[in-house]
Symmetry: C2
């Protein structure tokens, strides 16, 4: 990081000195992602100046790494020729992603500058629903034919490879463009020149349909250790490929969404510091309101037992501890199950195994907590034996109920077609709160004869 | 999934019919990960029987995908020759990972069957600390020399490539094995036969030190869109490579750990259904105890205001709502910041920007919630104006305090060298609980004159 701050200073000095030759030399030693990070700090005046110093391919790679505000700024300063140059250097999937971020007038300019074939490919990608495999694929790939020899295949790879996003994996198609095999560049290089592709290819290809959700795409990458995944249409025709760098981005995005849902936040796609206060408020307030209103039930339960509480105000002191312990026990179970679901280690048919496991964990945990608490109640708080028993029985039952609800609700939610993540922490906490109070007052009524 | 159940049935039928030829034909059409999933359901008797049907390379690939219990079972049934065959087919990093999972006597057998060079490489990997780049790298890679022509490089790739985990990216080293450049197989294939590697290689290589934490490895993959990352020692000598499939596994593992920490669970590496009840209990009970004991403070606060509560038992009814809303507001802020930290969108120097943003969000959110609640208190609960004001002022202040604590604690924790994730939900909830009660009783004392 110190290094990074130094480079930033050097760049600013070089700009001031108008020493563009040295600035260019410095930039070409850097990684595109690092140059983009540097560009995020440059003034609006300096940004286009420095961007123009980059060699064509580095400029395109850097452009892709920049955030959409900076991209927009640059495009507004570009001449048509400059825009055309950048667009032609980019991979089609990156242009499609760019178009989704830009305002309508910029989109028009971009499409006008793209050559007809690129434009056709961009429109192909844009027609798929957001978050589908089709929307994150690229249409630039090498396809081979089964009857080719290795020498012929290499010739085609050399010709098509410059514009392809990867040549590490090549797909084999038949006359109808249907996907019939896969062969890695490594297999091709290790084979003999006269070998036929059909003899060295693997016929059992993992592929995904254009309409498939992007989450499934990530899962296939992880499950089958892939670096590229072919995308096919309804007739098994090869229409694109997804590369692992895009899958990794999707994974990060989906994980962030899961974290946000667990914290009762409506997911937003923008980075925190770029999101306005009003947007943050909008993404958080609905859940706070819903959860606040559902806490009305706990209030009603307490009001109902108002007279009992008047007689034993002492009981109030243990309400927060009981509610928190219940909430924590529940979210331990729910988050474990939710994570198991998203890693596909668990599914609905495991419901009874999960419940049986949590049943035993709950008994162990509830008992441990109750014993500790009993000692504390008797020795430190010095309450009566009956009050101690009320608190400890409630604790055990609350932990028990919380664990069972926590582990089963996410599984049931997914089965019913809801997002199990939304079932996590806050929702389950609210339910467990109400139940723990009911248990508390019931036990108190029995043991203390309220 | 239905498909999968069918295949399982077919396999069991074929075993019963002893139709091993058809079984073998069926298995060879399947992906290693799917065969491993199938093997997880086979009986201990059938497992070695079916495993032996697999062709050598598919057997090794399937072996890697199996869980360690099944691997152990198979190894126990292997003859020395069979073990040797599997070990020799595996990549060194996979053997190293296997060794870490097996009991000592099995480890000895494995090392005895590995050839001396493999044994040396395994020991090389095993000497690095757990979760370091060195411990997840493989030592099987192709390295080129700068003075080679493309034709010479291709010759070396053909010779070394069979045993390398990937040839998609090749690294260039000098006489002292120091890393001086990188060249992709695509660049090599698109170049002319007589081109020199030094002219087509990229001298600016992103690399990682053997001792670096595996989390940094994942970050570099994501930041620079890599598929392979070279690992170097203190003298910049190339000692291994990490491939993206392993980085993806690390990412999933680290994400699971974050989820677990947020749910107050001590991370365990094993999948849920494979973890014993006692282990689950052990991973969860410490935090439950700590949090239960820290809830003592909230109890003390309530006890302290016992007399006030006796006069206004009604106030008790709103305690759960205030605590929950505070907890939810706090974890919204903390999880947003924690996620920003792990995606490296945020760092400590952003503290004031973050606090200022949450300050404004808190005012907006607190005000909205208070207004809703005021209307409900007056119209539905029909409480007195003063009680309504006490509850609503507390709500606003609680949300405010919760947001500020939620957003700043993770940043401060990371700066102080603690894991920011542990600061999330449960911890912050406990603190916010205590503060919200203090605020509640203070305001009640003032407005209601208790």
């Amino acid at each position: 990081m110190e290094n990074y701050v130094n480079i930033q200073k050097t760049v600013l000095t070089l700009i001031e000195e108008k020493n563009f030759q040295r600035l260019r030399d410095l930039l070409t030693t850097m990684q595109p992602a690092d140059i983009a990070a540097l560009f995020a700090e440059l003034s609006e005046k300096n940004l286009p100046l420095v961007f123009r110093l980059l060699p064509k391919d580095l400029a395109a790679e850097t452009f892709v790494e920049m955030d959409s505000d900076r991209q927009h700024l640059l495009i507004q300063g570009f001449s048509d020729t400059e825009l055309q140059e950048v667009i032609n250097e980019l991979y089609v999937d990156d242009v499609a992603a760019l178009i989704e971020e830009m305002p309508a007038n910029v989109v028009k300019r971009i499409l006008r500058q793209a050559d007809p074939e690129t434009r056709r490919q961009i429109n192909e990608i844009l027609k798929y629903p957001e978050d589908s495999a089709g929307s994150i694929m690229t249409t630039e790939f090498v396809s081979l034919r089964a009857h080719m020899t290795v020498a012929e295949a290499l010739k085609r790879i050399r010709r098509q490879g410059i514009d392809s996003e990867t040549i590490n994996v090549c797909y084999v198609t038949d006359d109808g463009r249907r996907l019939i095999g896969v062969v890695s560049i490594r297999t091709i290089i290790l084979a003999e020149e006269q070998d036929r592709i059909e003899d060295i290819m693997n016929r059992y290809v993992v592929s995904v349909r254009t309409t498939e959700d992007q989450e499934s795409v990530v899962r296939l990458f992880a499950k089958y250790d892939l670096t590229v995944l072919p995308v096919v249409d309804g007739e098994n025709r090869l229409v694109g490929i997804v590369t692992i760098d895009d899958a990794l981005d999707v994974l990060q995005e989906e994980t962030t969404e899961d974290f946000e849902k667990m914290a009762a936040i409506t997911p937003t796609a923008r980075p925190y510091l770029k999101t306005s206060v009003l947007e943050i408020w909008k993404s958080r307030i609905p859940w706070l309101l819903v959860l606040m209103i559902s806490a009305t039930f706990t209030g009603l339960i307490i009001s109902h037992f108002e007279d009992a509480l008047k007689a034993y105000v002492l009981l109030t002191a243990y309400i927060p501890m009981l509610m928190d312990t219940g909430g924590n026990s529940g979210s331990q179970a729910s988050i474990t199950v939710i994570r198991g679901l998203s890693l596909h280690e668990l599914e609905f048919r495991d419901l009874f195994r999960v419940v049986w496991k949590e049943f035993r964990v709950a008994i162990l945990a509830g008992f441990t907590l109750a014993v500790f608490n009993f000692v504390k109640l008797m020795l430190l708080d010095r309450v009566s034996l009956l009050v101690a028993l009320v608190v400890c029985f409630t604790l055990m039952l609350t932990v028990f109920v919380a664990k069972l609800i926590g582990c089963s609700f996410p599984l049931i939610a997914q089965k019913a077609g809801f997002d199990p993540v939304v079932m996590a922490s806050p929702f389950i906490t609210t339910i467990v709160d109400a139940l723990s109070l009911l248990i508390y007052f019931q036990i108190a009524t029995i043991l203390l004869g309220l």
